[in-house]
């Protein structure tokens, strides 16, 4: 059992550095969101902010890529995502077609670069 979970210290770090700082935003959302009505105008603003923050997360991963993605040249990362988006629009918003095309461009580009 101990081998499966590792040290109790690591699990404590998981809860204190991973679970709590992440979950606190969900529970704060529950505290404020449970009182808001579906037709409320403030929801239009909250949705726009949620969408824009998500857009920031997307831009950050592309500009400051983690791990192995950092080994891919900038132009190939941006090109793969742009190609994925173009295919998504051309296929009447098929996420599947867009994701597959973007990934193919990335893999083909990496393979071609060697």
């Amino acid at each position: 059992m101990n081998e499966f979970f590792g040290s109790p210290h690591a699990l404590l770090v998981l809860v204190l550095a991973g679970f709590v700082p992440n979950e606190i935003w969900r529970m704060a959302g529950l505290w404020f969101g449970a009182g808001v009505d579906e037709g409320s105008e403030v929801l239009v603003w909250v949705r726009a902010v949620a969408t824009a923050i998500l857009a920031g997360v997307i831009a950050q991963i592309l500009m400051q890529p983690p791990g192995a993605l950092a080994g891919v040249p900038d132009w190939l990362r941006y090109g793969a995502v742009a190609a994925g988006f173009a295919v998504f629009m051309l296929t009447r918003r098929s996420i599947f077609a867009g994701v597959v095309s973007g990934e193919i461009i990335l893999l083909a580009g990496k393979w071609w670069l060697g």
């Binding site: 499966f4 979970f5 590792g6 690591a10 699990l11 770090v13 998981l14 204190l16 550095a17 991973g18 709590v20 700082p21 992440n22 979950e23 606190i24 935003w25 969900r26 529970m27 959302g29 529950l30 404020f32 969101g33 449970a34 009505d37 409320s40 929801l43 239009v44 603003w45 909250v46 726009a48 902010v49 949620a50 969408t51 824009a52 923050i53 998500l54 857009a55 920031g56 997360v57 997307i58 831009a59 950050q60 991963i61 500009m63 400051q64 983690p66 791990g67 993605l69 891919v72 995502v81 994925g84 998504f88 918003r93 996420i95 867009g98 994701v99 990934e103 990335l106 893999l107 990496k110």
Partner: protein
């Protein structure tokens, strides 16, 4: 697979609503994206010398891909727990407006906050966009049970993927590691684009993408928050101005 019509007697039972939620996991390509992402997270945890139980615990408790990648890579590179906690909490701010905007779809006048705790825990990008797509097809009084089913189904798929990724880590070629990491921004972008209902959503997405590179030059540590609130508020301002013009 189609859900039964809103007035179908099949929706009478909360357990069936839960089951419809679980089976809706098969109706979205985002499940595949999550599967691949969690393969990557499992492999990353293995390579960073975390235990399998630890990374499975992180999938169950944290349940947000970017936060888990940040947690594993910061702790794995020798950062302190405090530094990791700060990085995780900054990345998790997005969950707040997501929860606030999606919960009103689930509640009835009788719903208390405690009924929504588990559904709230499941909310991350995938559940956020899928709730907008699927909940209108579910009778209001069964939406919490349905969301519980959808959330449990997705978490189960991701626990399996985490385990596979952890066990297979040594066999995954480096090319696939890059491809898996690209899935998150690609799938986030396309699912958010599909989720755009109003002009304010489209503007928020475009402005959010273009403001972040500018704001990130300030190196504030909360760049995403600044660019997100500014872009979202400008987008809302345009919406408000157009609505006023129409009235």
């Amino acid at each position: 697979m189609a859900l039964p019509p809103l007035d179908s007697p099949q929706w009478k039972s909360p357990i069936r609503a839960f089951a419809w939620g679980v089976s809706s996991v098969a109706s979205t390509v985002l499940t595949l994206v999550l599967f691949a992402t969690y393969l990557g997270i499992g492999a990353l945890a293995h390579d960073s010398h975390f235990s399998l139980g630890w990374v499975l615990g992180s999938t169950l408790l944290v349940w947000a891909g970017p936060a888990q990648i940040i947690l594993i890579s910061t702790l794995g590179s020798g950062a302190t727990a405090v530094q990791a906690a700060i990085a995780v909490t900054v990345s998790a701010i997005r969950l707040f407006p997501m929860v606030v905007s999606v919960l009103p779809l689930m509640k009835t006048p009788k719903t208390g906050r405690r009924h929504l705790v588990l559904a709230t825990h499941f909310i991350a990008v995938t559940l956020w966009v899928e709730c907008y797509r699927l909940l209108p097809k579910v009778p209001r009084e069964r939406r919490i049970a349905f969301t519980h089913g959808l959330g449990c189904g997705l978490v189960t798929v991701c626990m399996v993927a985490t385990t596979f990724g952890y066990v297979l880590a040594a066999k995954l070629p480096p090319l696939f590691a890059a491809a898996i990491l690209l899935l998150t921004p690609l799938a986030f972008l396309l699912s958010t684009a599909r989720n755009c209902k109003q002009i304010s959503d489209v503007l928020a997405l475009v402005l959010g993408l273009s403001l972040f590179p500018l704001v990130s030059m300030l190196h504030t540590g909360v760049d995403i928050l600044i660019s997100g609130i500014s872009a979202g508020s400008i987008a809302y301002g345009v919406h408000w101005w157009r609505e006023r013009g129409r009235a």
